[in-house]
Amino acid sequence: MKKRAVLFWAQLGFTLMVCAFLIVPVVLSMLAGVTVNYQNGLESGLTLRWIGEVWAGYRQTIFLSIGISLVCLAVTLVLGVPAAYVLAKRQNAMTRAIEELLVMPVAVPGLATALALIVTYGGAGGFRTSWTFILVGHVLFTLPFMVRSVLAVLSAIDLKTLEESASSLGAGFGQRFFQIVLPNCRGGILAGSLMVVTLSMGEFNMTWLLHTPLTKTLPVGLADAYASLRLEIGSAYTLVFFVMIVPLLLAMQAMSRPRKSKTAKADIGEE
């Protein structure tokens, strides 16, 4: 009994140490963002001045990132969910090959993908300088995550029989897709959406090459701030980033949780 208690406290201590190792730098960075002078430490006092400067100088990057990630989500939903549906329904050598190829944009370094995009479309002036150029990169990068998570759910349910039984009840393709297929891969769609938004919001490698001075995203702006401005401003930027993204992620997490059952376990009808 006592030995178990010792083991328990040892494990708890270890876990807390690992957590601290990861969390302390984040907390310090966030604190730095509200410290008057980081060199002098917290004694120099707290201020919202740096946050104000970030807001004044970089709020466009925040809005652009949120905008791109949401449009990216919309595009991956429209492309990815039907793609996953087709891949789940047609199990043959070609669809399996496509499934494998889908991982490529994740495996290939973002820089390489970005370079390929620039080499190919760099000459198209209006496109090159617009935010949609970054969007294309993000869609390439995040689409596999949407397809994979929806596909995983679709493969786990007996999609074929569910659709057959719906059609035996008179449901045409549209009704089957929107009333049976989509609701039953809700979990996969939400998990995929969470990935897509998070990845798009934080994407740096590719965006670093794709952006123009007028199309800076949040992570690019962050790198900019750390590289060329006071440490306090960079840290304040991180703080703003957290404040923006954490509620968004929490909301999406809450949505993707499975629905609670309404009543207790079955108890009748088995005599």
Binding site: A166, S167, S168, L169, N184, T263, I268
Partner: protein, 348 residues
């Protein structure tokens, strides 16, 4: 209870075969007539083509070129399943996990854009008919297997289908529940008078439910007929062996007697040239050696409670299976006499 009369549907298949994309022949071209209101059971081992035939009738598979499916004489071969208005019940139930029991049952009506009160009324009627009212608001994952099957039946019947197609509906259930639900389905089909096609590999289910049984083997219909005919006058060796227990003994028919190595059995109607007699265990009685037609030695005896099943070796064939209600034990190697009721003898 269900008040609306369903106009039963007559179904006909004409030269319906099925070859899959990989060249596998699942079904040889088949002709079949199912009368309005009749229950036909497709019976056979897995891979015999029974489910393929059902799926062709449902519209889930297209027959090979030349095959036609007729509903009340109208060619529906080109119609997709959603236009055929047939109710289907699947082995896996295929209930929609994103809907409650009531929503599942009402789905077919929702698809037909019925008014909400009409759907609710029909759902209540179906819940009552299947005696599952308390489950209306349950989610599918909160139901037991038997409850799921009741919901699946209610859902299929809610749209007043022209025919009910059941694909191994009881296979996933345990034995006791299977018996109870079989009785329920039988009552239901009789009460509704609906044309029903029932696919199973379980001969007891087929015997209990079928007005006619179509025994299928290797993509062909080996025999179709009422259960008694299938049992008493099997058309092929496959049918004889697949349905019930069949004993066989080799010999020669000579002057109204079938002569074997183990003895002679009177058999006036033996077809000329018969070299093998077939008979069921219930047509054999275990008797004293003096009155016996055949003699053999017991190789195994199983006490079943109300009777004892004996395996009796009489010749080089498989031991004969016979049953006796004698209140005694049988020892291995013991010689017993067998008397065969001549009315039970069959030749193939």
């Amino acid at each position: 209870m269900m008040t609306d009369p369903v106009q039963p549907l007559a179904i006909a298949l004409s030269r319906c075969g099925k070859t899959f994309a990989d060249g596998t022949r699942a079904l040889e071209p088949l002709d079949l007539e199912i009368k309005a209101g009749e229950t036909v059971v497709f019976l056979g081992p897995s891979g015999c083509g029974k489910t393929t035939t059902l799926r062709i009738i449902a519209g889930l598979e297209d027959p090979d070129a030349g095959g036609r499916v007729l509903f009340d004489g109208v060619d529906v071969t080109a119609q997709p399943i959603e236009q055929r208005n047939v109710g289907m019940v699947f082995q896996s139930y295929a209930l929609f996990p994103n809907m409650t029991v009531a929503e599942n049952i009402g789905y077919g009506l929702r698809v037909r854009r019925a008014k909400k009160p009409a759907i609710a009324a029909r759902v209540d009627e179906m819940l009552g008919m299947m005696r599952i009212e308390p489950l209306a608001d349950r989610r599918i994952d909160q139901l037991s297997g038997g409850q799921r099957q009741r919901v699946a039946l209610a859902r299929a019947l809610a749209v007043r289908p022209r025919a009910l197609l059941l694909d191994e509906p009881l296979t996933a259930l345990d034995a006791k529940l299977r018996d109870a639900l079989r009785l329920e389905i039988d009552e239901l089909l009789r009460r509704l008078g609906i044309t029903a096609i029932y696919v199973t590999h379980d001969q007891a289910e087929a015997m209990a439910l079928g007005d006619r049984i179509a025994v299928m083997d290797h993509g062909k219909m080996a025999q179709i007929g009422p259960p008694r005919e299938i049992y008493r006058r099997p058309a092929t060796r496959f049918v004889a062996d697949f349905i019930g227990t069949m004993n066989r003994i080799s010999g020669v028919a000579r002057g109204g007697v079938f002569v074997t190595d183990a003895g002679a059995v009177p058999w006036l109607e033996a077809p000329p040239g018969t070299t093998e007699a077939l008979f069921r265990p219930e047509d054999v009685t275990v008797v004293d050696e003096g009155q016996a037609h055949l003699k053999g030695s017991v190789v195994a005896a199983f006490f079943l409670g109300d009777r004892t099943r004996l395996f009796v070796k009489v010749d080089a064939n498989k031991p004969l299976v016979v049953e006796t209600d004698a209140r005694r034990d049988y020892a291995h190697g013991e010689t017993v006499g067998l008397r065969i009721d001549p009315r039970g003898l069959m030749a193939l």
